[in-house]
C-alpha cells in the first residue's frame, strides 16, 4: 500500500460542458436537476441518441494569434480556460512561481481527431485540404501544445491519453511532480470533444443509448456521449480555505480492452490505493461521484463495489445524466462537479434514473440532497482496463 500524501490545495478550478461555462452554471443545473442532454444534431449521418453538446463552438474561432491551433477541441479548451477567471489565476501563478516551476498535464481521449476526420471527408487530390494541413491538429498532444503556447509554462508538459481515465490521472502526475520538488504547481486539464470516431465507435460496440442515459437504473441501456473542458490549479501551498487533493489511486484491470473486470478488481485496487494515500476509510467518505456510464456492465460492477464497500450512509451518484460521458474529459469535469457539490453542500442527483440497482439502492442518490460534504471521491474507469479514483477534502471554512 502507498504511503499518505501531503494534501495539496486546488487554488482554482473550472469546467465547461453542455451545462454551460463555469462552476455557477454547473451548480445551478445540479440544484435544479436540469440536465444538458439533447437529441443528436452533431453527426452528418443520422444516429439516434442523446448528446451533451457545448453550444456555439462552431461560431467561436480562436483568437487570430492562436489560429494555427483552431479546431473544435482547442476551441473548447479555450472556452473552458476563460471560465471562472481560470486563465488569470493560472497566469498569476506562473508569474509568482516562475514558468519553469509550473507543469502542464492534459488529459484527452481523442484530442483533435475531429479535424483529421474533417480532412478525410474533404480530401484535396489525396491530401488533407490546405486549411487543415497543420500538424499540430493531427497528433494526440494537440491540446498540450495549444495550452503550452497560450500559458507559456516551461515546466514538464505532457498529454495523458488513457481513454476515460485520462483527466483523472493528471492529478496523480501533478502530485508526484510537486512532491518530488520538480515543480511547485501544476495546471491540470481535460478536454474532449464530440467527433464521429467516438459516436460511431461506441455505436459499433452497441453501447450508445437511444435516449438520455440512466446510470444505475435496472432499465439502463447505454451511454450518452458529451464533451467538456475542465481545469484545476494544484499548488504546493496556498489558501487554507481551498479544497484539497488528498489522495488518488491508479490500477489496471488486466482483463479486457473494453469490458470491465467482472468483480471490479481494478476499480477496487484504485479505491484502496486512493483511500490509503488519503489516510481514510470508506466510513470517512461523504460523497462519491461514480463513473456510472449507464452501460449494463460498468454499472453492475460499480454498483456491487459501492454496495459492499461503503456504509449505507454514504451518498453516491453519477452525473453523466447531466453532461453525458465526456470520455477523456470526464475525470476532471466530474472532479470539478464534485468540488462544486462540496462547496454548495448538495449531493447531485443521478439524473434520468428512476430506480437504482438494488445492491446500491441505499447509497445512490436518485434526486439531489442538501448535505455537508467534507470528503468526496470521484471514480474514472477507461478502455484498456485503466482505473483512477481521486479523493478530495474541503478547505477549512467547512470544518466544524
Amino acid at each position: 500500500m502507498p504511503t499518505r500524501i501531503t494534501p495539496l490545495p486546488l487554488t482554482a478550478f473550472t469546467a465547461t460542458s453542455t451545462l454551460g461555462s463555469g462552476r455557477a452554471a454547473h451548480a445551478a443545473a445540479i440544484h435544479a436537476d436540469r440536465g444538458g442532454l439533447r437529441p443528436n444534431d452533431f453527426t452528418r449521418v443520422p444516429l439516434p441518441c442523446a448528446i451533451g453538446r457545448v453550444a456555439g463552438l462552431e461560431d467561436s474561432p480562436l483568437p487570430a494569434e492562436l489560429a494555427d491551433y483552431d479546431c473544435r477541441n482547442n476551441r473548447l479548451a479555450w472556452r473552458g480556460l476563460n471560465a471562472d477567471g481560470f486563465l488569470e489565476a493560472a497566469r498569476e501563478c506562473i508569474a509568482r512561481r516562475g514558468a519553469d516551476r509550473v507543469a502542464l498535464v492534459v488529459g484527452t481521449s481523442t484530442s483533435s481527431i475531429g479535424a483529421t476526420e474533417e480532412g478525410y471527408r474533404t480530401l484535396d487530390d489525396g491530401r488533407l485540404p490546405q486549411h487543415l494541413r497543420r500538424p499540430v491538429l493531427h497528433t494526440p498532444h494537440s491540446p498540450g501544445l495549444f495550452l503550452e503556447a497560450v500559458l507559456g509554462t516551461r515546466g514538464p508538459c505532457l498529454t495523458v491519453a488513457t481513454a476515460c481515465s485520462s483527466s483523472a490521472k493528471v492529478f496523480a502526475k501533478a502530485e508526484r511532480m510537486i512532491r518530488l520538488g520538480i515543480v511547485d504547481a501544476a495546471i491540470v486539464a481535460g478536454v474532449d470533444t464530440l467527433c464521429d470516431s467516438v459516436l460511431f465507435g461506441f455505436n459499433a460496440l452497441e453501447l450508445v443509448s437511444p435516449e438520455p442515459c440512466r446510470p444505475f437504473d435496472p432499465a439502463r441501456n447505454g451511454i450518452s456521449i458529451g464533451e467538456a473542458a475542465g481545469y484545476a490549479l494544484i499548488e504546493r501551498d496556498g489558501d487554507a480555505r481551498a479544497p484539497r487533493l488528498v489522495g488518488y489511486g491508479e490500477s489496471s484491470d488486466a482483463h479486457h480492452m473494453s469490458t470491465p473486470h467482472p468483480e471490479g478488481l481494478g476499480a477496487r485496487l484504485a479505491l484502496a490505493d486512493a483511500l490509503a494515500r488519503a489516510g481514510l476509510t470508506p466510513g470517512d467518505v461523504d460523497y462519491i461521484n461514480l463513473h456510472g456510464t449507464a452501460t449494463s456492465k460498468n454499472d453492475e460492477v460499480e454498483a456491487a463495489l459501492l454496495g459492499d464497500t461503503f456504509p449505507k450512509t454514504v451518498r453516491a451518484s453519477s452525473t453523466k445524466g447531466f453532461t453525458g460521458h465526456t470520455l477523456g474529459a470526464a475525470g476532471i469535469l466530474e472532479a470539478v462537479i464534485t468540488l462544486t457539490a462540496m462547496r454548495e453542500g448538495v449531493v447531485p442527483a443521478t439524473l434520468n434514473s428512476r430506480d437504482a440497482e438494488p445492491v446500491c439502492a441505499a447509497q445512490l442518490a436518485l434526486t439531489h440532497e442538501t448535505r455537508e460534504i467534507r470528503v468526496a471521491l470521484s471514480n474514472s474507469f477507461g478502455f484498456g482496463g485503466s482505473n483512477c479514483t481521486l479523493a478530495f477534502a474541503s478547505g477549512t471554512q467547512h470544518r466544524a
Binding site: 498532444h141 461506441f202 485503466s386
Partner: protein, 265 residues
Amino acid sequence: MSALTVYVDGIGFWAPGLADWAAFSRAVEHDDFALPATATRPAPGALPPTERRRAPEPVLIASEAAGQAATMAARDASKLACVFASTHGDLAITDEMCATLAIEPRELSPIRFHNSVHNAPAGYWTVAAHCHAAATAISAARATFAAGLFEAAIEVASEGEPVLLAAYDIAARGPLAEMAPSALPFATAFVLSGARSERTMARLSLRTAHDTAISDDVPASLAPLQTNPMGAQSLPLLVALARRQACGIVIASGRDTALAVEVTP
C-alpha cells in the same frame, strides 16, 4: 530542482532488421545497419498466440520491446507499473477509421474502435502480463520520449518501485502521413529502478535544461531509424547506452526546454 536518478536494469529494442538490444548494440558498434527490403513484424512472446496474430502493430512492437526489457531486468512483469509513450499512437487505425468515417460511418468496426485508444498497447500488455499496477499512456509531440522517460523516473522516485517504460511509433499511412511523418516502426523499452543492483546497466541522472543543443550523435548507418519520430527522439540516448560510455545527452522536452541525461555505466 535536484537531479532525478534512476537505474536502467533492462532494455528492449525492436525495429525492422534489429530484433533486440544485442542486435542494436552490434549495429552501433560496427555502424553497419541496413534496412531490410521487406517489412517485418515481431511475434512477442509476452502476448498469447491469438493476440500475436491479430493485435494492432503498436501493441506488437511495444509488447516485444517491453517483454525484452522485463526479461533482461529479471522482473516479474505482473508487478511493474508502466508508462507507454507514443508520439502519434496508432497511425494505421487513425487512417483507416477516418477513411471509413468519411464514406460510411456506420461501417466502423467495433474492434478497430476499441483498439484505437492511445492506451491500447498498455491495455493489451497489462492483460497479457496479469498486471494490476498503474499503467499510463502519454504523448508530447517531439518531446514524447523525454516526457515518458521523465514520467517513468518520477514514478520510480515517488512510489519506490521499478517502472517499465515502453516508447514506440509505427509507420504512417494515407493522407495522415504528410501531417505525422513516420517511415517505419520502432520501439524501445526500459525497466527503471531506484537502486543499483547486479542487473544495472547504467545510471541515468535527469535534469531539466534550457538553451542547450539537442544531442544528435548517431552512427550514420542508423539514420533510417530517425525517420520514425520515436527513433529520432530516443536514438542519441540508446546509442550512448549501447556504447557503455559515461556521457551527457540532451533530449527535447518542451517548447523551449530540454531534458539533460547524464549517463554513467
